[in-house]
Symmetry: C2
Subunit: 497 residues, 2 copies
């Protein structure tokens, strides 16, 4: 063969791992969910902000000063002037950049909310994606106390606005200062890079998963899990372990009772007393506003990650259980949280600017709402399908669809090239409740036929007589052409009820 | 100096060029605008789809088969398995990937809309950003005719739903097949890589900007612009140029008149006749549905880019003029468009799948709505501010805000650490209409003071007497504490009217 055939390049249609498409009803339901949360944030006086997806890597804080490539965990690329940019990995770092950049012009305190995708360059897993949506609210420039308390109450309001009943969630509140005090009580006073401190905090964070016995092992000699893997312990002696466990167990009962137990555990240290005072101030506000310990509870076992928090921290936790598809009991646990961070804007400005924020994890919350049956699907989501019986009368079908739309009804004309049988299948696949048909007969009589697909499906499960089914008469009615809208409406009303 | 002082790394708070933040009222207004467009797409039976920001570069079609780095114009990075990924540069390429990937499971035709940011790695300019929002609707798997006509009508409906009056816009419609026929008439039959074809199409595309004289030069010997720059011409002879200009000028009047003129110009060729037939079919549907040439007009001068279109193409153009801030008359021109592309999904599947789509450019449309005064700002957007007169009574202020919120009124408690004077400034800066105050006096009387900031601003411009101004009594009222909500509502109603 002399001539080489030019090879046609044909890419495979696929998505990079850890990325997903969302389609149809789920997009609508997610949008409604975000609207509800934004509605609550709005009512509290927060203003919307939208920052771009890309930021300079150093502005996101993911650039170590002596390293010439960005930290792991972010998606990064170089701009044409060789500066590194990254896709934002959360909505807080862009907020800090925005506040530092526009500080003088902004009202202070500055209160904003933002929703949108964030990206993590991490190994994906079940339910763990490399792009996911967050919805945050933050108050920048407010001292500890009321601003933190407000976020806890707003978190509770959000969950209730989404249909999660009181008793089905709790906002668990702690204070980083108490954790520092508890560590100081057992002689750990090193900073963030003290490995023992890290090991102890990690152990404390596992109380709800491993219980007291497991945490005791992790604080002491180490722990072997079910698979045989060994996790090294913090090497504390029994007295120190008892102190830590007493601290972790100080929650429960009223806020006053918890605060009293915490006072006994860590109140002797200045930082401990400070943390307790902040929590007491917040507890008084909860009481004044009627948010009892069933909604917001002080819980010393809340660690809330190991990063930038400096004061009150809290987690929004769902406490109800649901059955997964394979019948297993699942708890959804934390669906968001936040806390006070006083150092984030200081990275740019050199002066501490106190800030406190709250973030909801949208996909975990959505999964929980699905399990609760609280996803809002929206009535009238499925369109009415106008069949194309005679292609040369397309103008008549267009006019019908236009009339339905003018009445606020979603209406769609079948746009493919196939016949009526395929068009009916299409209507089924689209989930349509009503199909509109006008063939030659109907046209002659000045009528249209409306097929009620919901009723049709019900009847077809009852009908054993093949003849009766084939006639299909059961679930369809003829109406005068000028009563199209009224006829469709009456079927949709029946279907919705 | 023996000890080297550790240098504190302090990044500058800035955004990469061509990227912007959007804040407050503009975010709300943009969201309302997108909601309106989505509402129209919904009514027509399109379903929402959300694809991730990152796609494999080859799936986006930005990878040339023999090149090991992605094409220019996109932001690209390598995944940890060395595969190239890019940020989507439009919403059509991800749609093609989605359809190819899920073809068997999808209803056919497949109708989806999508809104979201897209990214272009291009040189930014005034009004040209490297991240911007598009909102698209596409029908995949529908033959030419009704599906294209529907998109034109839907484009018109969108603009009217946004408040652009009839007569303020026109959807200009053409057909790529007519352009191919017009080129064939003058002997240009080469494909996309024929440089003369490209030069002629570029010249045709400039009719609205340069007029007949300018286009004649570009089709012939070339043209020198005002700055003295010379653009090489296509080198056509006069007879050919006359033919092209006759084709370009065939628009105007009724659809029948335009189609007759087009028939004379290019109807002798099979591809020309085919294009005319498609437009005739569409024109009949416009007439049947009542969309006259004031809303949708056939215009042979519409070229609509040089890329993947294969049949009907159309542009949504705003025809009104507005004055810019410096008094200059501006026309907004095209705010979106679309057309038929039958080859995009074929890139993956090897078989042609007919498709047609429409895309609105959100920021240009927003600028036009601003100029028209049609941006929806939303009543009650500004929050009511509850001042903190006595910090120890914070619980009382929280309760007031909660009452207002329960009545659907945006309410915010001042969360900063400053005194009443700074708090009033804050309320002004936030654009608040009402401020709620409860100091010791009010508390003693069981009252709250409501300050009407809108009325206050009006009065202050009237008051010349310093005493009267300082007393501030003019624009404030006292109401019983349990009439807080009613009092605030009555002020807000007055302000809104």
């Amino acid at each position: 063969m002399v001539e080489k055939k030019k090879k046609q390049f044909r890419p495979k249609a696929r998505l990079p791992k850890g990325l997903i498409d969302v389609y149809g009803a789920e997009v609508r339901a997610l949008a409604r969910m975000l609207d509800r949360v934004r509605g609550v944030y709005d009512l509290y006086g927060f203003e919307p902000l939208e920052t771009p997806a890309l930021e300079y890597t150093d502005a996101l804080g993911k650039f170590l000063p002596d390293v010439d490539r960005p930290n792991a965990g972010v998606f990064s690329l170089q701009d044409d002037d060789d500066q590194w940019m990254s896709l934002r990995y959360d909505l807080t770092a862009p907020l800090a950049r925005f506040v530092a950049q526009n500080y003088d012009a902004l009202p202070k305190p500055f209160r904003r909310y933002q929703s949108g995708p964030v990206w993590r360059n991490e190994k994906p897993g079940p339910g763990r994606y490399r792009q996911f949506t967050q919805i945050d609210a933050d108050t920048v420039g407010a001292p500890p106390g009321a601003a933190d308390a407000e976020l806890c109450m707003m978190a509770a309001d959000c969950l209730e606005a989404l249909g999660i009943p009181r008793g089905g969630y709790v906002i668990r509140l702690n204070n980083r200062k108490l954790l520092d005090a508890a560590l100081a009580e057992i002689g750990i006073t090193g900073g963030e890079d003290d490995p023992q401190r890290l090991t102890v905090l990690r152990a404390m964070d596992k109380l709800d998963r491993l219980g007291e016995t497991g945490v005791r092992l992790l604080l002491g000699p180490g722990r072997k899990d079910e698979s045989g893997d060994f996790t090294a312990g913090a090497g504390l002696d029994d007295a120190a372990i008892d102190k830590v466990l007493a601290f972790l167990g100080a929650g429960g009962g009223s806020a006053d009772e918890t605060l009293a137990r915490l006072g006994a555990a860590v109140g002797g240290l200045e930082i401990g007393a400070e943390g307790i005072n902040e929590l007491r101030m917040m507890a008084e506000l909860f009481a004044a506003a009627g948010y009892g310990p069933d909604r917001i509870a002080i819980d010393p076992s809340i660690v809330r990650g190991l990063d930038y928090y400096t004061g009150p921290v809290f987690e929004a936790e769902l406490t109800f259980e649901a059955r997964s598809e394979d019948g297993q009991l699942i708890r959804f646990g934390s669906v968001g949280g936040g806390g006070r961070y006083d150092g984030l804007v200081a990275r740019f400005k050199g002066v501490q600017i106190p800030a406190t924020g709250f973030s909801l994890g949208v996909s975990r919350l959505y999964a929980a709402l699905e399990a609760l049956g609280k996803v809002e699907t929206g009535a009238g989501d499925a369109p009415v399908i106008v069949l194309v019986m005679d292609r040369e009368h397309m103008g008549r079908y267009l006019a019908m669809a236009a009339e339905l739309r003018a009445a606020g009804i979603r209406a769609e004309i079948y746009m493919g090239a196939s016949g009526v049988r395929a068009q009916m299948k299409y209507a089924d696949k689209r989930g349509a409740a009503v199909v509109v048909m006008e063939g030659e007969d109907e046209r002659g009589r000045g009528e249209v036929t409306l097929k009620d697909l919901v009723l049709g499906a019900e009847k077809s499960s009852e009908i054993t007589d093949n003849e009766a089914w084939r006639s299909g008469a059961a679930a369809q009615i003829a109406v005068k052409r000028d009563e199209l809208v009224a006829g469709v409406k009456s079927i949709l009303q029946r279907t919705a009820s």
